[in-house]
Amino acid sequence: MHGLSTFEPKNGFVKWLEARLPILSFAHGSFVAYPTPKNLNYWWTFGAILSFMLIAQIITGVVLTMHYTPEATLAFSSVEKIMRDVNWGWLFRYAHANGASMFFLAVYIHMFRGLYYGSYKNPREVLWILGVIIFLLMMATGFMGYVLVWGQMSFWGATVITNLFSAIPIFGNEITTWLWGGYSVDNPTLNRFFALHYLLPFVIFAVVGLHVWALHVTGQNNPDGVEIKDVEKDCVPFTPHATMKDGLGVVVFLLLYCWFIFYVPNYLGDADNYIPANPLKTPPHIVPEWYFLPFYAILRAIPDKLAGVIAMFAAIAVLAFLPWLDKSPVRSAKYRPMYKALFWAFVVVSIGLGYCGAMPAAEPYVTVSRVLSLLYFGFFAILPFLPRWEKTLPVPATIAEAVLAKSGKVEPPKPEPVKAAPAKAPTKSTRLWK
C-alpha cells in the first residue's frame, strides 16, 4: 500500500525526469498523497503559517539588503532612506519588521500546540528537538536583525545581550571582546551581525527541512494523541484536505499580519529605535522585542549575574528535555485533566513573565518575576511525578473512533485502563506510506 493515492506519470517528460531525479513523486508523496489524520484542528495549520513566514522574511530581507548599508555611520540613515526614498521601501521594511513578530507569534502558538497535545513524546523526540533548535536559531536571527537598524534600542540591546557572555567564568571577557571584534559594540559587531543575519535564515530553512523529514517519518500527532492504525479509516489525503485547511489558516493569519503592516506598523516596535545609536547614552528603559520578554524577565529576576544568565538559557534548554520529563503514557491533554490545568497555568505564567519583562526593574515586578520564574521551572519539575497522581480519561482506540464519537455516530469509548496505550513507535502500517 502506498498511502492514499499513487503517482503514476503519463507525461513523457515526467517519466523521463522520474527515472533520473524522482523529485515529482517525492513531492506528490509528501504534499498530495501524504495521509493526514482526520481529526486535525486549526492549531495544526501553524506549520504551514510558519513556512509561509520564513519565505516572507527571506524575500523581504533580500529586498532590504539591496538598499541597506551595514556600516555604523550609515546604517541608521540607510534604513531611513528605505523608509522615505526607496520605492515601496516602507512596505518591505514594515513587512520585514512585523514579519519577525508574526513569525514568533506563530512559533509560540505552534510550540504551545505541541505542549498541549503531547507532540514531543515518543516517537517524535527528534522532531521536537529540531523544533527547539529552529526556535534558538530564530532568536539569534531576530536579535541580530534588530541590531542592524543601529538605533538606540538596537545598540543597547546588543550591548546587554552580548554582555551576557561576560558572565562565563574565566574566559568571559575574552569571549565578549571576540564577539564584538573590539572593546564595545561597534562597526565590526554590526558587520558580522549583518553577515550572520543573512546566513541564519538559510540555516533555519535547512533545519526546517530536517524537521519536516522527521515529521514524515513518524507521521503527524493529532488532537486525540492516538497513532494512526489504519490509513484508510483514520486519514485523509493531504491534498485537498490539508492544503485547503492550511490555505485558510495562512489567509486568516495574513489578515492579522496586514493589519499590523498597514494600520499599526510601529506598535510592536520601540520609539527609542528611531533615535540613532549613541554609545555614550543608555536609554532610561531598555526593553527587548516582545518575543524575548519572558526570558528577559527570568534574567532580571535573579540578583546574581552568572546565575541569571544560566537561568535564562536553561529556560529554553529545558524544552529539549521535555520528552523525557513527561512520563505519562497518554499524549493529549484532552485526556489528562491535571496536565491540562497545569498547561494553562504554564501559559499564564509565561505571559505574566512577558509582562514583567516589559516593566522597569523595580518592585513589585522584581518579586513577581521571581515567583513566576520559580513557577516556570516548577512546571517542568512536576511533570515527571504527575502520572503518580493523575487519573487519565479513557482514550479512544483509533482516530476514526474519536471522530465518529464526536459526531455522535458511535458510542464514546468504554472506560478501560489506558496504561500502555499510545506512545509507541510507528507500527508497520503507518510506516508504509512514508
Binding site: 543597547w156 551576557l164 561576560s166 572593546y183 564595545s184 540578583p303 552568572l306 526593574a361
Partner: protein
Amino acid sequence: MSTATPTPSTDETSRRDFLYVATGSVAAVGAVSVAWPLISQMNPDASTLAMASSEIDIGAIPAGQIVTVKWRGKPVFIRHRTADEIKAAQDGDNASMPDPATDKSRVQKPEWLIVIGVCTHLGCIPLGNQGEYNGWFCPCHGSVYDTSGRIRKGPAPRNLDVPPYAFLTDTKVKIG
C-alpha cells in the same frame, strides 16, 4: 604468484595502521590550522588595538561635576568629587559590599575619581549623581554604585573598573 605470506592482522601494528594514524594526524593538524584563523579573525583588528590613549584637560571641571569622555569606544567618567562625596566614599570603606575595596585604592587623588562608565552587569551606562549612595544608578537592571564607583546593590558583580591613567600636570590627565 606472489610468495609473500599475507599476515592476518592480529595485534601487530601493520603498515596500514600506521598510514591511517599518520593520515588522520595530518588531517587534524590541517583542520586546526584552518580553524585558528577562522576564529582569530573575529578578534579586534590592528586598527582597533592601536587606538591611542586620550589626554584630557580637567582644569575646567568644577567640583561636583562628572564629565564623560570616550576611550576605546567606551565612556570614561571623570568625577571631580566634593569634600562630602569623598567623605561618603571613605566612610563606606568598612561597609559590607559585593566587591570590597577601599576608596584609597581606587583613586590617585581623592578629588578625582576616574572610572570606566560601563556597568559591570551587562554594560549599560549608569546615570551619575543618582541612586541611594548618590554615586551612580544603572537604569537597566537597577545596580547602585557609591561615590567611589563601588557596587553596593543590584546584580552587577564588580565595582566600576578603573582604567590605567596618569596625571600629566595638575590639570591634564592621560587615559590609557
